[in-house]
Amino acid sequence: MDQLTLRAVLIDDEQHNLDNLSRMLEAYCPQITVVATALNAMSGRVALEQFNPDLVFLDIQMPGESGLDLLRSLKGYGFDVIFVTAFDQYGIQAVKLSALDYLLKPIHIDELRSAVSKAISRRGSNRAQMDNLMQLLRQQPRDDHRIGLTTLRETRFVPVRQVIRLESSNNYSHFYLEGGERLTTSKAIHEYEDMLAGYGFFRCHQSHLVNRRFVRSWVKEDGGYLLLEDGTHVPVSRHKKSAVHTALNNG
């Protein structure tokens, strides 16, 4: 097995964070060589051009130009990105929707190792994720937004509006798409609930997340269920009724 070495650039607006991450990489991720660090987006851009790294650790929240702004300003990107953030904030949803890796501060050693090993194994193959992120960040019409679904075999980018519903079972989430296709991921349904909340999805049951677009009617018999355009019946939990009511009536 090739012992690959990845050349990395770290971008963070706080020097001690840069130092800390450098040390951690040195200690726990010997495959990574830090070729440059940058304290803001502008110098980060210079470093990226100059060093053409394999991997970039990019802080999302930076004063002035954010990490995402920096990415947006680039014409192309031949590198993988591992985002670093202190707390859920603006932009993290786009990262999640694009199935990109991110680390939370303070950085957990195991998570760092896992992210790095993924970057090594799929090196250069996350262009689709990056493209999707860029699309989301470019504020295209929401109808064009896609979500990255990582299945056992691949990461598929599916237009959000084509997702009819999600159903969880045994810690998997099944995506039912327009056209009858089903994709299964290993993320929990509640994670998708957060991601898709802005796209008209709502939780009607502990195991079901539904796209409002595909709800034909709310049948109140038999404890209540939603009849979807594809003919499926999705149960409505008693304690989700008011949430379903709100979701179906607002907007």
């Binding site: 050693i109 810690n171 929990a188 509640h190 502990q206 304690h239």
Partner: protein, 571 residues
């Protein structure tokens, strides 16, 4: 009636003070005013133009009518032997006066008269004429004339007055008065839309100017046949026996077969649904018609009579049917509608009030829940930081890193838990795990978290940080005081076991420590317990159908077990 004429007369004749019964002997002299109440009729003078003849003054009293079809029913024929012959009807019960023009005090001695009842009974035998009027104006002679007296009899009988020449016994003149009973007779009824046609009616115009009896035309009959079966129509008049009018046909003309000259002659009364709406009154027109206007819904009887014969009443019944808005069904429907609307409003208001109350209650509960939502115990937070500081200062870099990121994760969960009321059970378990790891830095104890495999921990949602204070209690009051093999009888030191099991739609969380335990009968425990108690109480109120039951089992020396049963939590 041959050449009989009607004339209005002003006679200065002696009039009776009281009605005579078949006698005229004591008739006082009439005044001019009295004669104003009579109409006189007289025959053409007979062939002997100088002969007197008999004339009558019929009670008139300012009105008059003739019912033209009622010719006298008298078995007497005009014969030359009777002299000038004249017969007429009296319709009033008052006396009819008989007098003789051209008979005056100068020639009175040549004549005598008698009065018979029904051609048989002698009322007045042959007698001389010895009373006279002063002037007899109508015949233009301007001279007094002989007065034979005033007479009346009962209805259906007649009085016959005869005048003859004493010397020869030749009959000069005969007059017969028949007391005719009469009731108003309907000719036809006209609806509002027919009034125009009615006024243009040829018969009507003719009737105003001539005294001839009207016969219904084909159109008169047809108009009723369009609305009624033949057997519902009066065979004589062709008018329905009982008239049913639509609501809008509330304007009717009843046209009588009579010659009304003055309105007082005709009287009518209108009764609606058994009560009189128009009491007996004189007609409004000098015409043989009664015009009823603005009739409301109801059953009516129109009674008509001639003033001179008030005992003879003609009744006619008809009904104005209710408009559809007046029908019972409509009223019932409207009433039902109103009641229904009221009930509906009431229900809606009730429902709305309940919804509002429910919402307010929920808002209140949520507010209270938020205010008592668990936060990490500050004591723990700073102790954990101090523990990590200790690791750093001991150069234990990797443990320090691990605990620091665990602490960060706990803080993150707490903070996002503060934004979300519910978190997946998996998250809550991870939080407990992180928390216990950090506490392990401070106290030597072991813990196990066991989750049943059939529990969908990533799907079930639980109130965030509900369990943390209880686990914290297990640490603080349970195992923290125990040293491995120390004061406690447990040789292995403190153990905390947390288990999650499932029973159908319910799941149970058990938190067990082997610490010193406490007396559950003692007054409310620490802050953590009372906080949890309040929170669960509020949650049970606010949650729809789901509940949390919980109990604490503890005894000194045995440890503590807290059991929480989440009822109907899994669906």
């Amino acid at each position: 009636m041959g050449g009989a004429k009607l004339a209005w007369a002003l006679l200065l004749v002696a009039a009776p003070a009281a009605a005579q019964n078949f006698g005229g002997d004591n008739t006082p002299a009439p005044t001019g005013a009295d004669w104003g109440n009579y109409s006189t009729s007289y025959a053409e003078p007979g062939p002997h133009s100088q002969d007197p003849f008999l004339e009558t003054a019929v009670p008139y009293k300012g009105y008059y009518f003739t019912a033209i079809d009622h010719s006298p029913r008298v078995p007497l024929e005009p014969e030359p032997s009777r002299g000038t012959f004249r017969e007429l009807n009296a319709y009033d019960s008052a006396d009819v006066y008989v007098y003789a023009p051209r008979l005056n005090p100068d020639n009175a001695g040549r004549f005598e008269y008698r009065v018979l009842l029904d051609s048989g009974r002698v009322v007045i035998p042959w007698s001389p004429i010895n009373r006279f009027t002063d002037v007899f104006a109508p015949n233009g002679e301007g001279k007094p004339c002989g007065l034979l007296g005033g007479y009346h009899t009962t209805w259906g009988h007649y009085i016959e007055a005869e005048l003859r020449e004493k010397k020869t016994g030749r009959f000069i003149s005969t007059t017969v008065i028949y007391w005719q009973e009469v009731k108003p007779a309907l000719f036809n009824i006209y609806m509002p839309d027919e009034l125009g046609a009615f006024l243009e009616m040829n018969e009507f115009l003719q009737h105003l100017t001539n005294n001839y009896y009207l016969r219904p035309t084909a159109e008169d009959t047809l108009k009723w046949l369009r609305r009624y079966a033949r057997n519902q129509l009066d065979t004589a008049t062709g008018i329905p026996y009982f008239l049913r009018l639509k609501h809008e046909e509330n304007n009717l003309v009843f046209y009588l077969n009579a010659h009304i000259i003055e309105r007082q002659a005709l009287e009518y009364q209108l009764v609606r649904n058994g009560s009189t709406v128009i009491p007996w009154r004189s007609n409004e027109f000098d015409l043989p018609l009664i015009w009823l206007r603005g009739l409301q819904t109801g059953k009516y009887t129109l009674s008509m009579r001639f003033r001179s014969q008030r005992h003879n009443v003609t009744g006619y019944s008809f009904a104005v049917e209710p408009a559809w808005t007046e029908t019972v069904w409509f009223k019932v429907a409207v009433m039902a509608g109103v009641v229904l609307l009221g009930v509906l409003c009431w229900v809606l208001i009730r429902l709305r009030t309940r919804v509002v109350q429910e919402r307010r209650k929920r808002e209140r509960l949520n507010l209270e829940l938020k205010s008592i939502r668990s936060q990490l115990n500050p004591h723990f937070v700073f102790n954990a930081l101090a523990s990590i500081q200790g690791l750093v200062n001991n150069q234990q870099i990797e443990p320090a890193n691990r605990y620091l990121s665990e602490f960060g994760r706990l803080m993150r969960e707490t903070l996002s838990g503060a934004r979300k009321d519910f978190v997946p059970l998996a998250t809550e378990i991870a939080t407990l795990d992180t928390y216990l790891k950090l506490e392990q830095l401070r106290f030597p104890f072991v813990y196990h978290i066991q989750t049943a495999s059939d529990l969908p921990v990533r799907d079930i949602e639980v109130p965030s940080l509900l369990l943390q204070p209880l686990v914290e209690n297990a640490v603080k009051h349970g195992v923290s005081a125990m040293l491995p093999g120390g004061v406690s009888s447990m040789p292995s030191g403190g153990i905390i076991e947390i288990g999650f099991t499932r029973e159908n739609a319910n799941f149970t969380c058990t938190i067990r420590d082997n610490g010193q335990g406490f007396d559950t009968g003692a007054p409310a425990g620490g802050y953590g317990l009372s906080l949890t108690r309040d929170r669960i109480r509020l949650l049970n109120e606010a949650l729809d159908g789901r509940t949390i039951d919980w109990r604490i089992e503890s005894s000194p020396g045995w440890g503590t077990r807290i059991i929480l049963i989440f009822q109907q939590w899994i669906n």
